[in-house]
């Protein structure tokens, strides 16, 4: 391409070295989780860190599975077989994050389109409200939400965690920014062709904001998965725990069995990491095109 001067080559080598060191540091927690999950008790309780398990054992997982149990699923009074609680927590987490993701994407895509392209009354006011509430942490409305959920009979259900996530207006903001990019002429043309509003939205708008939906889906999924706070406050019974809450509860107990905790952490992270690695391309593509156009 072009001639590189020695200084820029030195910089390049330097940056590769730094990158490799950083990569090792970033990988380290995961390495520590996985090896920790398979270490025998003597390694776990060794007062000096053990870098590699002296022996690979599954005792930690066995302990974790024995520690708490819950029906694998429950469906209108029909209860699944009793299984290790961690499996139920994992299922709950997936349900919660997927549900929050889907609801957010649908509602935000519609609202974002309306805010960007419909000149309805009160639009400016609504939009400024949304902008102001965008970064609000949920702790602010902790007590009212708790009261509200109990009044709606949603306390101790996953919906109590899902609904506030869907209500969070960041998605609407993001989708509005994306919808701005839809050329007005196309919408006009569809309207002249006699398409209904709904049809216009589904056939014209949705395909055009697809990258935005991808970005939002990933953002919502991860945020919801990590929303330990709402889970802590809203979920009371073990069978409604999410995997994050379950592990955190195990950590809080007086017996501090690091091996068991690492097994839990491994169980919580490996499935989602696997999904991430398999669909890595889509993950990164989705966000990639998700850059706001202005």
């Amino acid at each position: 391409m072009k001639i590189q001067n020695p200084r820029s080559r030195a910089y390049k080598i330097f940056s590769i070295i730094v990158l490799v060191v950083l990569a090792i540091l970033f990988l380290f927690p995961l390495y520590w989780i996985i090896t920790g999950a398979f270490k025998p008790a003597v390694d776990i309780y060794n007062s000096k860190p053990v870098w590699w398990p002296t022996e690979w054992v599954t005792t930690n997982f066995q302990n974790l599975f024995k520690k708490r149990t819950a029906p694998l699923f429950s469906f209108f009074g029909l209860e699944g077989p009793v299984a290790p609680g961690a499996f139920r927590w994992l299922i709950n987490s997936v349900f919660m994050a997927v549900m929050a993701m889907i609801l957010t994407c649908i509602t935000a895509a519609m609202a974002g389109y309306a805010l960007a392209k419909k000149r309805f009354m009160g639009r400016a006011l609504l939009f400024s409200l949304i902008v102001c509430a965008m970064a609000l942490p949920k702790q602010v409305i902790l007590i009212p939400l708790l009261k509200e959920m109990s009044a709606l009979k949603l306390y101790d259900t996953l919906w109590a965690v899902i609904f506030p996530t869907v209500g969070w207006p960041f998605g609407v903001f993001l989708m509005k920014q994306f919808s701005e990019g839809i050329p007005g002429e196309i919408l006009e043309a569809t309207r002249i062709d006699g398409a209904s509003e709904a049809k216009t939205f589904v056939t014209v708008v949705l395909p055009m904001v697809k990258p935005g939906i991808g970005a939002l889906a990933i953002f919502t999924f991860i945020n919801s998965w990590n929303d330990y706070f709402m889970q802590l406050v809203m979920l009371a019974s073990g069978e409604n725990y999410t995997i994050s809450l379950g592990i955190a509860t195990l950590q809080a107990e007086t017996t501090i069995d690091k091996g068991l905790l690492m097994a839990g952490a491994a169980l919580a992270s490996i499935p989602i990491i696997t999904v991430f690695l398999i669909f890595q391309k889509y993950f990164t593509q989705g966000i990639t095109m998700g850059a706001v156009k202005g």
Partner: protein, 461 residues
């Protein structure tokens, strides 16, 4: 393209499983306290798999347990509740709390009006906190004269408030103590400072031992843990016993942390090289560090820990590497037995305003605390029974363990004043560990005590 299809398939599968798994989340949980008294609880319970054999009573109650010895162990608890269900047809849904965030969870549930029916913990929470604030049901009607004679006075008194309302029915008890790693003591030549027959030592010898250990190991050998409230009885007892200070005044109306004896203890603990005020450890962490052999003594100890250190099932009275653990009194100025903090655990009932559920809960308490099954319930906790006999069964000999019997004769008589029933106990806890953190961070001892004692006293008014 192919990948897309796989993705769609996986997503669809996940969704189906998830929907199936959580489809009933909209149903009001059977254990939900119903704010509308017009609906009978039975209607809610009808779809439950458990057939309603007792039409008059509730068919499911909920119980939240703190990890009181073996009562934190699901397998053990399930055996007990299954026995109860078999006898009464009342199902029990158990949730397991941790000390680190259990209070938060109960408080959140209370705020949502969805507290459990039953809870297992001690008077400092049941009587001094939730009871005093009007959340609990008075259980005094469960006591007859036989019960009063059978229940150990030290266990019963804290469960009843000044107005005679009883918010906890005691089940088991112990005396909290401390422990030393005897092998480490021997190696450092510090075993000369402890009396191994009476398990006592003097304050002077305690500090000598600390110095000897520090000289030998060159690192922190004991930690005044203060990351949170977990295990705070250990730090309280240590500070009070060192120079004979008190925690509250005699009638439990105000805190006396600024007692010069406490100030001296707190200062000397800070100045001792081998001791560290550690704001990264709570009681449970300290136990683990002691069990690992890092710390040479633990201030958060009791009979259940001695029986099964760190709940790790690696042998009675042994650290992970097999070193010998000896339980000890806290050091006192003259080396006499210490005033130990008591652990008195039992059940309380949250007021759901639903008589059927309250009655069912009382049945549960009777079953666990005063029946032929009490021996099993107490044995599960690995603590000592809070009464001498229950319905004719002698409870003093439920353990076939030399260690526990020795502990009962050596340590239980040393139970000190149970001051935990002072008003505002929950507020005091946060003040105490925050104060220790400040002292540990090098702030002036007197000033730190003054600030936090004032805040604690404000809550005690």
């Amino acid at each position: 393209m192919k990948l897309k299809k796989v993705l769609a398939l996986v997503l669809a599968m996940v969704m189906t499983i998830a929907l199936v798994a959580c489809g009933n989340k909209n149903d009001p949980a059977p254990s939900t306290p119903d704010p509308a008294p017009s609906t009978t609880p039975d209607e809610n319970k009808a779809p439950d798999s458990e057939p309603a054999a007792d039409p008059a009573g509730a068919t499911e109650i909920s119980l939240w347990v703190y990890p009181v010895g073996g009562w934190g162990d699901e397998a053990k608890v399930k055996e007990l509740t299954d026995a109860f269900t078999a006898e009464t047809n009342i199902a029990v849904k158990v949730e397991y709390l941790a000390y680190a965030d259990g209070d938060d969870k109960v408080n959140a549930a209370l705020s949502a009006g969805e507290a459990p029916d039953l809870i297992l913990e001690g008077p400092e929470r049941l009587v001094a906190n939730w009871g005093a604030n009007g959340h609990m049901v008075d259980l005094s009607d469960m006591l007859d004269d036989t019960d009063k004679s059978e229940l150990i006075e030290a266990a019963l008194t804290p469960c009843i408030n000044a107005a005679g309302e009883m918010y906890e029915y005691p089940m088991c008890m112990t005396a909290h103590c401390m422990a030393i790693n005897l092998d480490a003591f021997k190696e450092a030549g510090a075993d000369q400072y402890v009396d191994l027959t009476t398990h006592t030592w003097s304050t002077e010898n305690f500090f000598k031992a600390i110095d000897a250990l520090y000289a030998h190991y060159g690192q922190t050998v004991a930690a005044v843990f203060c990351a949170g409230q977990g295990g705070d009885q250990g730090t309280r007892a240590l500070v009070n016993n060192l120079y004979g200070g008190t925690y509250t005044n005699a009638d439990h109306t105000a805190y006396t942390w600024d007692d010069p004896k406490n100030v001296q203890a707190l200062t000397e603990l800070r100045d001792a090289q081998g001791i560290d005020y550690d704001a990264s450890l709570a009681g449970g962490d300290e136990i683990t560090k002691f069990y690992q052999g890092v710390l040479k003594m633990a201030f958060c100890w009791n009979s259940a820990q001695q029986l099964n250190p760190n709940s790790a099932n690696t042998g009675e009275g042994k650290t992970v590497t097999g070193e010998e653990i000896v339980y000890m009194n806290f050091p006192t100025p003259d080396g006499s037995p210490a005033e130990l903090c008591g652990g008195i655990w039992g059940f309380g009932i949250f007021d759901s305003k639903d008589q059927a559920r309250i009655d069912a809960s009382k049945q549960f308490i009777k079953f666990m605390c005063d029946s032929a099954h009490t021996a099993d319930a107490v044995a599960a906790s690995t603590f000592f029974a809070a009464r001498t006999a229950a319905e004719g069964t002698d409870l003093s000999k439920i353990f076939d363990s030399e260690l526990l019997n020795e502990y009962a004769s050596l340590m239980l008589p040393n139970l000190g004043d149970y001051y935990n029933v002072i008003k505002g106990w929950a507020a005091q806890r946060t003040e105490w560990w925050n104060m220790l953190q400040k002292i540990g961070a090098g702030e002036d001892v007197n000033a730190s005590i003054a600030t936090h004692m004032a805040a604690a006293n404000a809550a005690a008014q």
